[in-house]
């Protein structure tokens, strides 16, 4: 499989006009804080974003804790007109995008026009909008439903709100890839830039906490009582979270032309599907394994070059067991440092891998690995070099962002220090000549 992977990828890379893709701006709305600095400070300190849900009554669900975003006032970031036409999910996305654009030092004139695109991920989109519509319809009848509220629903709108705000006139697209949506968005955004269809892409994902979806996760038996313990032997499930992570991606030429600071380079992306079960990962992690290996190979590096893995690590028994198996298979006996941020943020579903991507970029910037909080008891089935309970510093030239999602979606994206990855013009030859990882037998 790995040998074949090289055969497929090398000519494909050679066929495209290649450019480096840089991350030049970051924006965050999270239960740990608003803005990249507040977010990162909390992450490094291992703070918890969990609290008792205030947004809706959890009634007799027997679960009431989530990573709910507090203190978010849409009008602090959005105009009155924008606030009127957005639900909470879009408002998160737009607020985080404004932060990211400011962080990147991009003016409206930089973004205006057809060369700027917006690609966003989500799982449920404007779930609060449809929740309110359904509530009105069921409780007060159809006549009480206001027609002007109806068009506010639709995941289609997420990137459109952002495109309007920044004058972007290129492609607008929503990729609802469940819990891998952030990585899907970043991967496709990088593809658009590499294939010459855009110079700048505002990418990332947004998600909100909503009653029906929360109840659904509880009924699936996936929600822990009060804390999330990724990779711990006694883990009891996930804690649902919400928020938005937005990244500004730029072509190297565009970033250089305007003198931007490259925070990180977007490396290769691996996308695969388990085709196994709608909510459970493949027991041997076949899709996830393909995605991890592909992200490494497409970056023009080997597993030995990867310094840190920001794991999906949901805190559910099935995910963590399979993900640990896959990481061990990819890295062999080398104990690559691994961490899951869901002990702090919870599982922000569509936004999860976007928020974690933001953290990957900051890891590359600072050399700090976020901690896996609430880790107490090692699990022999999750035998990893975990960054347990306290953040750690280390080499962070190349890091991987893992996501394994609902529907069997697997997506992995690599981030690297600018200039650390091979020159794209030489990448095809390098990929073709690279030696397969020692653990290649798994899929051969």
């Amino acid at each position: 499989m790995v040998g074949s992977l090289r055969q497929w990828i090398a000519p494909a890379i050679a066929a495209r006009s290649m450019t480096r893709v840089f991350v030049t701006g970051l924006g965050v709305v999270s239960s740990l804080g608003l803005g990249r600095d507040a977010y990162w400070r909390a992450v490094v300190e291992g703070q918890s974003g969990f609290s008792t849900i205030q947004g809706f009554d959890t009634g007799n669900l027997d679960r009431s804790v989530a990573g709910e975003v507090r203190g978010f006032n849409a009008r602090d970031f959005l105009t009155a007109a924008e606030a009127r036409r957005t639900g909470r999910c879009s408002a998160f996305a737009l607020a985080a995008a404004r932060m990211a654009v400011e962080d990147a030092g991009l003016s409206r004139s930089d973004l205006e026009g057809e060369r700027t695109s917006v690609i966003l991920g989500t799982t449920m989109g404007e779930a609060d909008v449809i929740g309110e519509l359904e509530h009105t319809w069921m409780r007060r009848g159809l006549s009480a439903v206001l027609p002007n509220k109806l068009p506010l629903y639709g995941s289609t709108l997420l990137p459109i709100h952002l495109a309007r705000a920044f004058g972007a006139r290129g492609m607008v697209q929503t990729l609802p890839a469940a819990c891998a949506a952030g990585n899907y968005s970043i991967a496709f955004a990088a593809d658009l830039i590499r294939s010459g269809r855009a110079d700048v892409v505002i990418a990332g994902a947004s998600e909100l906490l909503q009653k029906v979806q929360f109840a659904g996760f509880v009924r699936l038996g996936a929600v822990a009582p009060d804390r999330c313990q990724p990779f711990d032997k006694n883990r009891k499930g996930l804690i649902v979270g919400e928020g938005a992570g937005i990244l500004v991606l730029e072509s190297e030429a565009h970033a250089v032309r305007r003198g931007a600071t490259a925070l990180a380079e977007v490396g290769g992306a691996g996308l695969a599907c388990d085709a196994h079960h709608i909510t459970r990962p493949h027991p041997e992690g076949l899709g996830s394994l393909n995605a991890m290996r592909e992200a490494i190979t497409r970056s023009g590096v080997t597993a030995d070059d990867v310094d840190f893995v920001n794991a999906h690590g949901t805190g559910t028994h099935a995910n963590d067991k399979v993900e640990a198996l896959v990481i061990r298979e990819v890295f062999g006996s080398r104990p690559v440092p691994v961490s899951s941020m869901k002990g702090m943020l919870g599982h922000c579903m569509g936004a999860a891998s976007a928020l974690e991507a933001v953290a990957c970029v900051l890891t590359v910037q600072t050399g700090i690995y976020p901690p896996t909080m609430s880790y107490e008891t090692p699990d022999p089935e999750c035998d990893l070099n975990l960054v347990a309970n306290r953040s750690r510093t280390g080499k962070a030239d190349i890091v991987l962002n893992n996501s394994l999602a609902f529907g069997g979606y697997d997506a992995v994206v690599a981030f690297a220090k600018p200039g650390r990855l091979p020159d794209p013009s030489k990448l095809a030859a390098q990929v073709a000549a690279s030696t397969p990882p020692s653990s290649a037998s798994f899929l051969q």
């Binding site: 497929w8 890379i13 290129g170 697209q173 929503t174 699936l220 599907c273 085709a275």
Partner: protein, 400 residues
């Protein structure tokens, strides 16, 4: 873009299941039109709706005929239509023979569009949560509320292990899925992609558009592309096309039905901050021009436009204005939605399927303007969103 070969099609539509059935039905419709919109939709109870609905429902669709009895209980209607469409498309393309993959399943991906997902499942879950008790939510059906559930199920049923992408771009979804697939094909992430989308009729979907006053129900005139039209009519269905690189298709000896040769997409905001819903003639025009440039073609090279006109007169007028600016007043414009109704996320796939059928000899229609071309080489499929976005895809006849 580098041309992609279309090697197979699979559809579930009110006119039948499978590409061949669809073509036969369209041929029959052309000879002696029947109004499928007056075929009373069983999914839409007039008592619940408070109106007599007119919609194109897939009346005769019985998933058990194609998928067997087992494993269907927890699937929603959208998923069943998509799974059956994928099954037909893969067999039609020869990517499966008698249910067995002819390529490695790790080399076949899926890119599936839907605008609204399963409103049926979302409403069911909301009903239980609102009016009963959230503890009674059915955990086996709850996953259907997640918008990529249908594509996830297609991958499971058909064992498709390359990238699985769900696209939500409203009416533009299925055409935008083409670019996504082309990108993944050219980056070597798959050898073949199943591309298209689906949309299912449901009471909340019908009610929402009825409430917006844009449906041609009752005595209102339904005439897509015409000034006198008083609204659109909803349809439902699913349509997938199999895309491959021409080299890949040739290597496995596949029959190429047509090529996708150009893609363009544009977004234009409305002039007023207070406006949300609008159709932009400028976006339509830019999307078409971008697709022409992408394909290396001139406006005169487009023989027919498989348009997105749906019957909402002011939207149709804006779209036709965009087409005229980009392609001139003479180009032939067809209204596939006069046949299929508005199928949102699936509509672009139905437009592309229509184009393939025209390339293969079906009479082009129903025409909104212009004349049927004597020689058909290029069809431009158009999708127009409600928020200022538009997408164009150019298809070329195989062997042209």
């Amino acid at each position: 873009m580098k041309p992609c070969a279309i090697t197979g099609l699979g559809l579930v539509s009110p006119l039948g299941v499978g590409y061949d059935a669809l073509v036969a039905a369209l041929r029959a419709q052309d000879a002696a039109p029947t109004d499928i919109f007056h075929n009373h939709p069983t999914l839409l109870d007039p008592e619940t709706l408070g109106v007599t609905p007119l919609a194109a429902e897939c009346h005769d669709f019985d998933p058990k005929l194609y998928l067997g009895d087992k494993g269907l209980r927890n699937l929603d209607r959208l998923t069943k239509m998509l799974v059956v469409s994928a099954k037909f498309a893969l067999e039609h393309a020869g990517l499966k023979r008698d249910g067995v993959h002819t390529l490695s399943p790790e080399r076949v991906g899926l890119c599936s569009a839907t605008a609204y997902g399963s409103l049926e499942a979302i409403t069911e879950a909301a009903h239980v949560t609102e009016l009963e008790d959230p503890r009674f939510l059915n955990p086996n059906r709850f996953p259907n509320t997640v918008i990529n559930a249908s594509a996830g199920y297609v991958s499971i049923w058909e064992d498709l292990r390359a990238p699985n992408v769900t696209v939500v771009d409203g009416n533009c979804g299925a055409l935008d899925a083409v670019l996504s697939s082309e990108t993944h094909l050219l980056y070597g992430r798959a050898d073949a992609f199943v591309v298209g989308g689906g949309e299912a009729l449901s009471i909340p979907l019908y009610l929402a558009f009825h409430k917006l006053g844009v449906l041609a129900d009752g005595e209102r005139v339904f005439a897509p592309g015409r000034r006198e039209s008083q609204g659109m009519r909803l349809g439902e269905g699913a349509a997938y096309l199999c895309l491959e690189t021409p080299e890949g298709a040739k290597k496995r000896g596949a029959q190429v039905r047509a090529y996708v040769v150009g893609y363009g997409n544009a977004f234009e905001p409305p002039e007023s901050e207070a406006v949300l819903v609008h159709v932009s003639a400028t976006a339509v025009q830019r999307a078409i021009r971008m697709a022409l440039s992408d394909a290396g073609l001139q406006p005169r090279d487009i023989d027919v436009v498989a348009s997105a006109v749906s019957g909402i007169a002011h939207f149709d007028a804006a779209e036709l204005a965009g087409i005229e600016t980009a392609l001139g007043p003479e180009v032939a414009v067809v209204a596939p939605k006069a046949v299929f109704g508005e199928t949102f996320g699936a509509s672009g796939a139905f437009a592309m399927a229509s184009a393939v059928a025209w390339f293969e000899g079906l009479r082009v229609g129903p025409l909104v303007q212009g004349k049927r071309p004597e020689v058909l080489k290029h069809v431009l499929a158009l999708a127009v969103g409600y928020y200022g976005n538009a997408t164009a895809v150019i298809l070329r006849r195989a062997g042209a």
